[in-house]
């Protein structure tokens, strides 16, 4: 917080309020695809935007409520498959309203339906498991993250098994079809990011958001202050899952395909690494962390590999090392900067509280040693 304030006061007057800075960031984001770049860059922006949505959703669960969800990709999978089944020829029905066969609910309705379905599954998983201690929750979500893609893979008569579901419906506005150009998808994702940032920001300051943070700091104390910890944690799970449903719709309609490979454990850890790098619980931090890792995957590693090949290290392919890099990020950040690169002040204080405790204990120990001499 202190950094943000100092940073803010050095800016020109119109940019000193957070609202104005957010507006500026979105104005830049709107202009980005037109700044002399090609379709590949716009394509990257649209994908990266969808991952920002996912990171913002996981941030509600891990960052705000402090619940380690290692199977977040499962909700992403559920949202995506819900969209795919309801907007493709996949389901073998022939109803009069859709003469081409299958189910074709309009995209903008499905956006809400798919995120609703993801939220329902968040509640279904959360209801029995959220009473568990934090570390058990991590392993249950990890197990859930394994079960869901495997189930989609096994139910091949409905989900196409390893082939996934293809030829999904594209969004339309009136008579305008989104088609295969990444640009309209990028603007749609940007709109969804704006919506989720607004939602997450308001939630954080709300009664619910403050309850999440109380639970994150000390669940037992929060319960004794009269917070219903189970429903509060359920709300975090459901809202976090619903964001992944939005991302699922956006990405599935853009790629025209869902398949189980998109939802492996590695994806959950990829999104977690975005949070850890940027700063758990801090919305700007999470967005920056997400964009940095997306750029790392798409541009920096291939470029660095080319550079190394140019230097004569032909056998090195850094693109294969990206999971090693995520592992190193998780370990190094937790050891040396657990609050992330762009922390929220409150989270930073919590994560360093233990260190203060040890210094106090150490100080007392010194005093005691002196006294008995």
């Amino acid at each position: 917080m202190a950094v943000a304030t100092r940073f803010g006061s050095s800016l020109p007057a119109p940019l000193r309020t957070p609202g104005a800075r957010t507006a500026l960031v979105f104005a830049v984001a709107l202009a980005l695809p037109f700044v002399g770049h090609n379709g590949g860059f716009t394509n990257f922006l649209a994908d990266a935007g969808a991952f920002v949505l996912l990171a913002l959703g996981l941030n509600i669960v891990v960052g705000f409520a402090g619940l380690l969800d290692l199977g977040y990709a499962a909700f992403f999978a559920i949202g995506s498959y819900a969209f795919a089944l309801l907007a493709s020829p996949q389901v073998n029905v022939h109803w009069a309203i859709w003469p081409q066969g299958g189910i074709h609910v309009p995209f903008w309705v499905l956006l809400f339906v798919a995120s609703g379905i993801a939220a329902v599954f968040g509640i279904l998983l959360g209801a029995p498991t959220l009473r568990l201690r934090g570390d058990y929750l991590a392993i249950v979500t990890l197990g859930f993250g394994e079960i869901v893609p495997q189930t989609f893979l096994n139910l091949s008569q409905w989900t196409g098994g390893p082939n996934g579901i293809g030829s999904l419906d594209q969004p339309t506005i009136g008579s305008y079809k989104f088609g295969f150009d990444p640009l309209p998808y990028y603007f749609m994702v940007l709109g969804l990011v704006a919506l989720t940032v607004w939602l997450a920001n308001n939630l954080r300051a709300s009664r619910l958001g403050r309850a999440w943070m109380a639970i994150r700091e000390d669940e037992l104390a929060a319960a004794h202050m009269g917070i219903n910890t189970t429903t509060t944690k359920l709300a975090a799970f459901a809202i976090g899952a619903s964001f992944s449903g939005l991302a699922g719709c956006a990405l599935a309609s853009k790629l025209q395909l869902v398949s189980t490979e998109q939802f492996q454990f590695q994806v959950s850890v990829f999104i977690l690494a975005m949070l850890v790098l940027g700063g758990m619980g801090n919305i700007p931090g999470v967005i920056v962390g997400s964009l940095v890792l997306s750029a790392l995957e798409r541009f920096i590693l291939p470029q660095a590999t080319n550079f190394l090949h140019g230097l004569g290290f032909a056998s090195i392919d850094l693109s294969n090392s990206r999971f090693l890099i995520y592992g190193v990020i998780l370990v190094m950040m937790m050891l040396f900067r657990p609050e992330g690169l762009i922390p929220s002040g409150q989270r930073k204080a919590e994560l360093h509280a233990a260190e203060d405790d040890t210094t106090v204990a150490g100080h007392e120990q010194e005093l005691y040693t002196e006294a008995i001499r």
Binding site: G143, E146, Q150, F265, V269, F323, L324, M334, T358
Partner: protein, 303 residues
């Protein structure tokens, strides 16, 4: 019925491997309350180390006679020592600094360590499955229509022997007593003159060494391995530890055999592709309905 008995044997030998891995999870959780996600990968490293040792010894196929005993003993001990050291290094580098940090921090570090180990193994042997030499001649004992292979006997015997040694160590030696004291209350143990850093390192050494032994056994049992082998196996072994009651050594053993049986029966009577789903569903169900496990005691919430 014959099929059932045959799967009982298969399940027990599979369970022996899970039991050995589960012991490491349960020991580490018992002493520092951390789910060591990297433990499954230490187990895979055990297979990789065994393969390296066998290559050094020039073993590429079946060994017979007295040489067999030497080869097996050298490989298992080598893999146990190397894995034990890996466990100690991981604890020293990644977990020790975070011992007093909020729970989330060491859990995330453990996930990170798991990814690091997996990718180091990816560099070592590449992304494809790697063949593992058979090492042990595999005569089968026939009991009616049920056959028991030599390697199945080896898995079960080794698991039970190591378990007994561990039980004796933990309950009848001074170091074992130090481990139990540290698990109960670190601060009090320290005041009683126990070096808790050494004791926790020792726990990682023993737990990881058992995973190393399991690594060798699984190499021989399956005849191949690959760098991601430890992910699913680790999750199943953790399920076993939870099922038996986390922190409880006998429970980990029991859980391991039960999970092995569950997997074998699912593969036989439902379908191979559902076995992971069933095992992880067991994990979810146990955690919901009996989070203390079969042999565990319930823990009060610490303030």
């Amino acid at each position: 019925m014959d099929v059932f008995l045959q799967q009982l044997i298969n399940g027990l030998s599979l369970g022996g491997i899970y039991a050995l891995i589960a012991l490491g999870y349960t020991m580490v959780y018992g002493i520092i309350e951390l789910i060591n996600f990297a433990h499954g990968d230490v187990y895979t490293l055990g297979t990789f180390f065994s393969l390296a040792i066998l290559t050094l010894l020039g073993v590429t196929g079946i060994v017979t006679g007295p040489a067999l005993i030497v080869v097996v003993a050298v490989t298992i001990l080598g893999a146990m020592i190397l894995c034990g050291l890996t466990g100690v290094i991981v604890e020293r580098l990644a977990y020790r600094r975070l011992r007093n940090a909020p729970k989330l921090a060491p859990l995330i570090t453990a996930i990170g360590m798991s990814f690091i180990l997996e990718n180091l193994m990816l560099y070592w042997h590449g992304p494809s499955p790697i063949p593992f030499p058979a090492v042990i001649p595999n005569p089968a004992v026939g009991l009616g229509s049920v056959t028991i292979q030599a390697k199945q006997i080896m898995v079960i015997v080794l698991a039970v022997v190591l378990m007994v040694v561990l039980q004796v160590f933990v309950y009848n030696t001074k170091l074992g007593k130090a481990m139990r004291a540290t698990a109960q209350d670190k601060d009090a143990a320290q005041l009683m003159g126990i070096n808790i850093n050494t004791t926790i390192a020792l726990t990682f050494l023993i737990g990881s060494a058992l995973a190393g032994a399991a690594g060798f056994v699984s190499g021989v049992y399956y005849g191949s391995t690959w760098f991601l082998n430890g992910f699913a196996a680790g999750l199943k072994a953790f399920t076993a530890a939870v099922l038996g009651g986390i922190g409880n050594l006998a429970g980990a053993m029991l859980g391991g055999f039960l999970i092995g049986l569950t997997e074998a029966m699912t593969t036989q009577f439902i379908s191979d592709q559902w076995s992971n789903v069933v095992v992880f569903s067991v994990l979810v169900l146990v955690l919901i309905f009996r989070p203390t496990g079969l042999l565990g005691e319930s823990l009060p919430n610490k303030v």
